[in-house]
Point group: C2
Chain length 465, copies 2
């Protein structure tokens, strides 16, 4: 029986959670899962299950899930592999709607018993119609529900936002989440698929495509079991929500490692790339590009075309942004006569006033730089803007000067920025811009690449329509 | 008369500094320069020059540089362009050894008068043998001398280290410095060449090649006036100190902008690339790559060969590192039998134990992961190691467990890391590793690219020998 999307809704948005294998020993994953669930702000019921304890983390514990005197929507399981089939039967009897199975030691191990256990477990779960995230996963977090069903309490610190991550590696999901915390990028769900018992990329895509709090779906992929099914689902999502994918295995040795690690079909990097393109999935080649692009897709409108304007506070960052813009398929547009006239009036003759525009000479005139930005954003020949300014103490007012104009255009045209300053300087201004839909990046190259990828997404989406 | 390198030594390491055009008005650059010099910790004499003030920032001010009753080694000039030739004559009479000329409005402006002023000024400076950094620059900072002769007080917050930057863009130099602050990368000198009156890339390379506190020279370049001379100097530095260069102008539009901005020969990106390769300069293509590579070259020994080992705390980051390693010309080595045996003993069979090595299954055994790292680093078939670990609360001890082994090998083989954790976790451990010569990066891809670039530098240096 295939897993129904409704059951996944309940799994990710449970009213109550049982932790089967909860522990008070920090050397056990069951301890860290309890910590995540009790400290993460989850408002529903939390029921530790451990036959040796009566209480854990100040919460009453139960000998088995059957003994919990309430309904249990989600069970997080951290018991040894051998105990898992029995636990699934108990969960089925209890009416549990979904399981996060953190336990490792199934088909990824050399011992045949692991594969047999996984088959048995899948049979029991399918019979009961219970979707299982895992096994061999860190778990998952639903930030909007303040649910952290993982062994990493720090996931609760990730900001709420519209990006949902499906990751085939716990390590990569953690690294992405830590980058997101540092760069203030918001997530909806962080999901470790692990070894995919009955819930893989395809099932999660179907669910997330319908999930209202997910605006962008980002994937880290090593290899999939059923590429046809994934392609079918991706096609059905095309044009509705952006699908981003970072697939490793470009090199022979990492391809081999990925087969070993996930026990799935890896290989044929180019074949995967072709499939992604055909089905409208946007492929990226690094963890930072995955995050940068997802952030832009979550915050910005998609550009109508590839005509970009580069505005900068100093000439150098503008040139760096131009190089990357052109490499990423953007065209540095020619401004309309009217726009050019407005810019020429705002800036002195010694500035670069065509495209890229160097606003440096107008540092002391907030009105002038606001006028330049408004002129460029309003130009019918401009589909998106890259804006790069390095702080120097004399231009400290630049972000405030531009804020209203950028916010005013943010819902109509994509604007990607590199507003670069030390310490706390500009931090509030940048945060407020990001809340209004204007993402900021650490370098001009990354700001330009983000706009380029918005355009790449747009072309992929159009190809399918 | 060509500028002598001795004079540059005094310019960058002055006993006293006059600020000609110092101001108490925060709307003037002369204010910010005063702030940089008085708050940056400089131990030498600071003499503001302003005919309208008797005191500035609590320091006695003088009507002209001639009136300063002490020797003046360095003059920082922030007066309007028209006043500059006169000031240079005064500096010559006073015996000033070097000038940082922040003033803009010379050959970069459309008005012919700007070019004429610059010619006149260059004639006077050359006559007196005074090297001039600028005009049209933010200035420079010598971190080891606690000298901040720029209009950006925040440069003083950059950590002391071995990287010296020569930048043809103030914006890019600022952005690089802000990235360095966030990532705790240490610098020796940060220099904005501006419009190059009589000190350009070639002169600064000659100086920095001899400068003891400079271990790596990083350049941001738009275009040079005398490529032959630069190539000659680069050849003479080859094999002595790493020269890194980020040249913009890959795209036509940014090439055009760079000609306009710096008034110099830009163009012919590929010609430049050929010249860099021939003379042993390592070319990079982004600001982050410039910083990442400079950091690795500053901290690590250069690898003897291109045989890499990838060790990771989780399989995914290891695969990402492998992909980039191979793309960057590294070869994932086969361990010696002895090494493989040591790793097989340390790790359980369900782990990836060849190369890449997944140390994940040994999370709870600090001795085992230390043994794996020591075995890999000691292998005669290994020239360098990429190490990637994502924090999860259960492996919080990983950095401590590895620290002694990594520090023990750091001076013999390059080790580039991505130790990724949220907030303060691992921060001290990472800092202590970096002090011992083990650089850390935000992602596995950037750690692998850094090792790849160390190897690329090594091959370029060898080609010249």
């Amino acid at each position: 029986m295939p897993i129904k999307v409704e059951n996944l809704h309940r799994l990710f948005d449970p009213r109550s959670v049982a932790i089967i294998g909860a522990s008070k020993n920090p050397g056990k994953l069951g301890y860290h899962v309890m910590k995540s669930l009790t400290e993460g702000g989850f408002k529903g019921g939390v029921f530790p299950v451990n036959p040796k304890e009566t209480e854990l983390f100040g919460v009453e514990a139960y000998p088995s899930v059957a003994d919990v005197p309430h309904e249990v929507d989600l069970a997080v399981v951290v018991l040894p592999a051998q105990a898992v089939p029995g636990v699934i039967e108990q969960c089925a009897s209890k009416g549990v709607k979904g399981i996060v199975l953190i336990t490792a030691g199934f088909k990824e191990i050399e011992d045949e018993q692991g594969a047999e256990l996984q088959t048995e477990m899948a049979r029991l779960a399918d019979q009961a119609g219970i979707p299982i995230i895992g096994p061999n996963t860190f778990g998952m977090a639903n930030l909007h529900a303040e649910l952290n069903a993982s062994f990493t309490p720090e996931f609760s610190q990730v900001k709420k936002g519209g990006i949902s991550l499906i990751s085939q590696s716990g390590g990569m999901a953690h690294m992405l989440a830590f980058l997101a915390m540092k760069q203030n990028v918001g997530f909806s769900k962080i999901i470790g698929v692990g070894n995919r018992c009955n819930v893989g990329f395809a099932e999660l895509l179907e669910y997330l495509a319908e999930d209202e709090s997910t605006g962008v779906i980002a994937m880290y992929m090593e290899g999939v079991d059923d590429p046809r099914r994934l392609m079918d689902v991706a096609r059905s999502v095309r044009g509705k929500k952006p699908l981003l994918v970072y697939k490793v295995g470009r090199s022979e040795v990492s391809d081999k490692a990925s087969r070993f690690h996930t026990g799935s079909l890896a290989g044929q990097y180019k074949v995967y790339q072709g499939a992604f393109r055909q089905t409208g999935m946007l492929a990226v080649t690094s963890l930072e590009e995955l995050l940068d692009t997802a952030k832009a897709l979550d915050l910005c409108p998609v550009p109508e075309g590839n005509r970009a304007a580069v505005l900068s506070g100093q000439a150098g960052p503008g040139m760096a942004a131009c190089d990357v813009s052109e490499e990423r398929g953007l065209v540095l547009t020619t401004f309309s006569e009217e726009t050019q006239e407005r810019i020429n009036v705002a800036l002195p003759p010694l500035a670069l006033r065509s495209n890229p525009v160097d606003m440096g000479p107008a540092w002391y005139s907030p009105e002038a730089i606001a006028e330049v930005a408004d002129a460029a954003l309003g130009d019918v020949n401009v589909d998106g803007v890259v804006l790069c300014i390095a702080y120097a103490s004399a231009n400290i007012g630049a972000v405030d000067a531009l804020s209203d104009v950028l916010k005013g255009w943010a819902s109509r045209k994509p604007i990607t920025c590199c507003l670069s300053a030390p310490g706390e300087i500009w931090r509030e201004g940048i945060r407020s811009l990001e809340e209004a839909g204007v993402p900021n990046y650490p370098t001009p190259e990354r700001a330009a690449a983000a706009l380029g990828n918005l355009w790449r997404y747009r072309s992929l989406a159009m190809m399918g329509s």
